[in-house]
């Protein structure tokens, strides 16, 4: 992008990121939203229909009913659901074009990863059990962080006529 184009693009107030990051981040958010919705449903129905082992190391029930399933009084499953609702909104194509949301999205993704560290630590060293559905959310959160980080660092001001994402 030439200097003149960059200036013109910056004046236009829009940013472009690689198209694949927009698509992948949105898909990850939707997957995370589905997983977190399921875990929240199970939380409020006493995990009565949790499709997962409840014996041994892989033990969703031990994790979802442990004292670590609440964080300062708020159900962790519900926090996860709210997190993915927020991140889905931030990863819509229209949101990617708004420079003001770049750092909000990055902070959101970073917060998610830090919380994953805490939850993985709790599962491994406090509860001594792994919840597969929770691990799914953890993997998605980490991948989402990677994609958002890449897109944020690679973002460039785009020409006014640009659709908001390019290759």
């Amino acid at each position: 992008m030439s200097g003149q184009t960059t200036e013109r693009a910056a004046r236009s107030g829009r940013w472009s990121v690689p198209t694949w990051t927009v698509v992948v981040s949105l898909l990850l958010c939707v997957a995370g939203l589905a997983d977190a919705t399921y875990l929240t449903f199970e939380h409020y129905t006493q995990s009565a229909s949790l499709l997962c082992s409840d014996k041994g190391t892989i033990n969703c029930l031990a994790v979802t009913t442990s004292s670590y399933s609440d964080f300062h009084g708020a159900p962790v499953a519900l926090l996860g659901l709210l997190y993915f609702v927020g991140m889905t909104a931030l990863c819509l194509p229209v949101a990617w074009r708004l420079p003001a949301l770049r750092w909000v999205r990055m902070i959101g993704a970073t917060t998610g990863v830090l919380f994953v560290f805490y939850l993985v630590w709790a599962e491994l060293f406090r509860i001594n059990a792994i919840c597969l559905w929770c691990s799914g959310v953890h993997v998605i959160t980490i991948l989402l962080f990677g994609v958002v980080l890449f897109a944020t660092v690679m973002a460039q001001p785009s020409a006014a006529e640009s659709p908001g994402a390019d290759d």
């Binding site: 041994g56 442990s66 491994l124 980490i142 660092v153 690679m154």
Partner: protein
């Protein structure tokens, strides 16, 4: 001729400038990619590090099998000073797990209110509440053959130090007590724990009736610890978190019971005060020296009516 040379010179300079710009952009892109790769790699490294740390950690010691409680532990549990009960009172942090059911079937034995405890040695929540039950009942009677064990090493709050009512005796002129530890803390091949005490048919009927809806939410049906106190008061779950006892040996917990400001004492003795105040309702405030004490009076506000 000269003008053409100047034009060519300008074109060459512009091309050189464009090339330099392109090189600078490529270098910036490479640096960005390195930053992204580095940060993302660090995230993965932390997760992998946690997993490796877990895998290389020494396996937790198998839960200690139940045995007789040491003399020092029994002494500390059965002789908590009155001043400690009064100093602790009933901390507001205790969970309100006792409910009142005036129309339920009375539970008595030998003309005295009967207390039925139903738990298991593997259960970490029972591990927490058992200390308080033992301390509270010590104020109404005498224990014999109290056991000592730990909760399961593979459940939440692993290997929480506790007592065991398996094989224990209790005599009192005020109340009767029956305690069941339905399993040990040792895993069995079926994925559960080795069975221990077998409740009588009538006691099992009490548990089946009162450790189920409408006395508890449907999801908590059959949860332990469960206590029926005189048929009128039910306890579902522990009054405090087993986390309070994490990493402490029996002897450390026993030694802590002398210090009213210790979180361990606040939890165990505070819960014991609430249980004592509940039992006092059943014994019509006997013995007076216990039921009218400041600690029990303070805890009576936690007893539902």
């Amino acid at each position: 001729m000269a003008r053409s040379s100047v034009q060519e010179d300008r074109k060459a300079r512009a091309a050189r400038l464009r090339e330099e710009q392109a090189q600078a952009e490529r270098a910036a892109r490479r640096r960005s990619t390195l930053v992204v790769g580095g940060v993302f790699g660090l995230v993965l490294l932390i997760i992998v590090g946690l997993v490796v740390l877990k895998l290389t950690q020494k396996a937790p010691a198998a839960a200690t099998a139940s045995g007789a409680a040491s003399a020092s532990v029994v002494s500390a549990v059965t002789s908590v000073p009155s001043s400690t009960f009064d100093a602790v009172g009933a901390p507001s942090t205790l969970s309100p797990v006792i409910t009142y059911h005036p129309t339920a079937k009375p539970l008595t034995a030998d003309g005295k209110p009967r207390i039925l405890y139903y738990g298991a040695e593997f259960c970490p929540y029972c591990a927490a509440e058992r200390w308080s039950v033992a301390v509270a009942l010590s104020r109404f009677g005498t224990w014999s053959n109290l056991g000592q064990t730990t909760s399961s090493s593979s459940d939440v709050y692993p290997s929480t130090s506790t007592l065991s009512f398996h094989g224990a005796g209790y005599s009192s002129q005020y109340v009767s007590f029956t305690g069941y530890e339905t399993t040990t803390n040792q895993p069995d091949p079926a994925g559960g724990y080795v069975p221990l005490d077998t409740p009588s048919k009538s006691d099992l009927a009490v548990v089946d009736q009162y450790d189920a809806p409408p006395y508890v939410p449907s999801g908590d049906s059959g949860s332990i610890p469960f206590m029926d106190m005189g048929g009128t008061y039910l306890l579902h779950g522990p009054q405090y978190s087993p986390q309070v006892l994490a990493g402490l040996s029996h002897e450390q917990i026993a030694a802590d019971l002398k210090n009213p400001s210790s979180p361990v004492t606040q939890a165990i003795v505070g819960s014991a005060n609430v249980l004592t105040a509940t039992i006092c309702k059943l014994t019509h405030d006997a013995p007076a020296s216990v039921c009218s004490s400041a600690g029990v009076q303070a805890a009576s506000s936690h007893v539902p009516s």
